[in-house]
């Protein structure tokens, strides 16, 4: 019947995932755009024409120059400059880097907490389940923004803006990560409850394996599929949450801005006609979030029927 073992790469090539990806143009385009943005964010220090946060490189004389194509533009600053004379292209690249770091960081934290608690709640059941899920319920009733605002404001008041600015990126990852773990925990718990009933779990128990091994080695891999879908969308959500916080002044500081803080710092200048300071970062943010969501949609569609098949 069948011959030798099938290589991993061949398995991926033959898989439904790849087949569906090839056919879905939206997915392909979104992936390419996302890849471009991620790569340019990673290599921002190499790609950016200037380091916008090196005070020595900024000249206030260059402030509020419009992007190429408009009168008064300078070739050295293809996307224009902001109020301090910083090159927009550079600030946007660095800003994307920060936004993506927060997005991925927060989601990794959410996922670790969510998977851990979801596993424990689902597998242990009883009291552990009740306690963890009640904590999750309480947390879900607070909106992320509200929690972040309170924590951020309290921190700033206690330790000052400067201190806050230095650790802002970690604080934001922490806040957003902590706020959103219940979603993932609930999904994992639901999967665990379903998997717990299957005979392979019984077989593992009958073999004498201990609880830890059964939870992490046997059940966990089978609960991860929905997490990929949720995770993707959560990255976009985290980026937006952070942007909102920054817009309110509670996010990244001006010295290490994300796309959100760039939008905020440029907001005042719309009136004076320098629309590009706010709009260009805004556009980048929209495109970033859009492609992540589109990829998430495709992933969800692709994984859904397969979930039923096996």
């Amino acid at each position: 019947m069948m011959t030798a073992t099938v290589s991993r790469w061949a398995r991926v090539r033959d898989s439904f995932l790849w087949y569906s990806f090839k056919r879905d143009k939206v997915a392909i385009i979104s992936f390419i755009v996302l890849l471009a943005m991620v790569l340019s964010a990673i290599f921002a220090p190499l790609l950016a024409p200037t380091d916008p946060y090196d005070l020595a490189q900024i000249d206030i004389m260059n402030s509020e120059l419009p992007p190429l194509g408009m009168s008064g533009a300078d070739e050295a600053f293809p996307l224009g400059t902001d109020a301090q004379g910083r090159d927009m292209l550079s600030t946007i690249l660095y800003g994307t880097q920060v936004s993506l770091m927060i997005g991925f960081g927060a989601v990794i934290l959410q996922a670790v907490l969510g998977i851990l608690f979801g596993l424990l709640a689902g597998y242990m059941g009883g009291r552990v389940d009740a306690i963890l899920m009640r904590i999750a319920d309480v947390q879900l009733s607070f909106s992320t923004l509200m929690v972040a605002i309170i924590v951020g404001a309290v921190f700033k008041a206690s330790f000052g803006s400067l201190m806050f600015g230095e650790i802002a990126i970690y604080m934001l990852i922490l806040i957003i990560g902590l706020a959103e773990w219940p979603q993932i925990a609930r999904t994992v718990r639901a999967s665990v409850l379903a998997e717990k009933k299957k005979e392979y779990v019984d077989a593992a128990k009958v073999m004498g394996f201990r609880t830890n091994r059964i939870m992490f080695r046997h059940i966990l891999p089978n609960t991860l599929s929905p997490i990929f879908v949720i995770g993707t969308v959560q990255i976009a959500n985290a980026i937006i949450s952070e942007a909102a916080l920054s817009f309110l002044g509670l996010g990244m500081p001006e010295t290490q801005p994300s796309l959100g803080s760039l939008i905020k710092s440029g907001f005042d200048y719309i009136q004076s006609g320098s629309w590009w300071i706010t709009l260009l970062p805004g556009l980048v943010l929209v495109v970033l979030v859009l492609v992540i969501n589109l990829l998430g949609d495709w992933l969800r569609d692709v994984m859904n029927p397969r979930l039923y098949k096996g």
Binding site: T5, E199, Y200, D202, V206, M207, G208, P221, N222
Partner: protein, 337 residues
């Protein structure tokens, strides 16, 4: 058959609590607070012994508790009352390290071939893990050899080790599940409806495989099934269960030749035989009562054509009928049947 049994179940009882939380139990009716506690009485006093080398079949219809008995013996459930003994030692109270050696000696095969293999593990991993767990001192080469040997003995090509469960058919998956059970060299295997989910021609293959394994590895089986035709072919002794109690326990030939208990008679008559031109069976009156509200006295009295007052009040115990079998029936005991 040796004198002392390999597996000994005494007075086994198992209840599943349906009551819910305290808030759900308490209700205000007729001017008073009333507390409602419901339980599924899955096993209601079962005494069974499995002797070394035999294939004891436990048959019954849904709700009779046969699967629950299997799971309780294997420690997946803990009994509400009663004891489970293996080689003379009590095992239902053991845990962790103390239970570990028994986990190697007692293995289980499950009903659903599509759920009994971990979908995210390759067959190789599925088979290696138990061997490595129970023999941590073995070298990698030894483990691989064992996996190969056991795969070949169930008729699966060892080259397919890197495949996942879903790449195999139902019959092949069941073979792999059997291989997993055999990989740790057990003495006693509980098979919970292992062939019910398979096609007829595949059932024969898997059944033959199990019989071969019994001979070559000197295994003892506890075989749970609802298919009496399989029992007639495979079992040495048969226990017929109804609503959590054993109605009749006899050597296979005797049971099929002269079934004593009215339920056994009805069950046997209901098997569709190839020779029949029409359905020809003993019709039982009434419906199967739920294991939630057990009838008093003999659990079968509501459907039994021969029930009398004693049956309605007194629970019959198993007694020996003289030809090697046991029956729990007042009618048989009194000589009425």
């Amino acid at each position: 058959m040796s004198a002392s049994p390999l597996v000994d179940i005494r007075g086994l009882e198992k209840k599943f609590d349906l009551s819910g939380s305290l808030l759900e139990q308490v209700s205000f009716k007729n001017g008073r607070f009333q507390r409602k506690q419901e339980a599924v009485h899955a096993i209601n006093g079962v005494n069974l012994q499995v002797f070394k080398g035999e294939a004891l079949c436990v048959v019954g219809e849904s709700g009779c508790g046969k699967s629950t008995v299997a799971r309780t013996i294997m420690g997946l459930l803990s009994p509400t009352a009663g004891e489970v003994h293996y080689e003379g030692k009590r095992i239902d109270t053991l845990e962790g390290k103390a239970l570990l050696p028994y986990r190697r000696k007692m293995q289980m095969i499950f009903q659903n071939p599509y759920a009994s293999l971990n979908p995210r593990m390759t067959i190789q991993q599925t088979l290696e893990e138990p061997i490595h767990f129970h023999h941590p001192e073995w070298s990698k080469a030894d483990v691989l050899n064992k996996v190969q040997e056991v795969m070949q003995s169930v008729g699966i090509d060892p080259d397919w080790g890197s495949r996942f469960g879903h790449e195999f058919s139902g019959g092949q998956r069941q073979r792999i599940a059997i291989a997993r059970a055999l990989a740790v060299d057990p003495e006693f295997i509980v098979a919970d409806e292992p062939i019910s989910a398979l096609d007829v021609s595949i059932q024969a293959q898997v059944l033959n495989l199990m019989m071969d394994a019994q001979e070559s590895r000197n295994l003892t089986y506890l075989f749970i099934t609802h298919d009496l035709a399989v029992v007639e072919h495979f079992g040495t002794r048969v226990a017929v269960m109804y609503l959590g109690r054993v109605c009749e326990l006899a050597p296979t030939k005797a049971l099929f030749a002269t079934p004593r208990h009215p339920y056994t008679q009805a069950l046997l008559s209901a098997i569709p035989r190839l020779e029949d031109g029409r359905p020809n069976y003993i019709r039982l009156q009434g419906e199967v009562p739920t294991p939630v509200n057990l009838p008093p006295g003999c659990v079968f009295h509501g459907r039994c054509p021969y029930a009398n007052d004693r049956c309605r009040q007194e629970i019959p115990e198993l007694f020996a009928t003289g030809d090697g079998g046991q029956v729990a029936c007042h009618g048989v005991e009194e000589g009425r049947l």
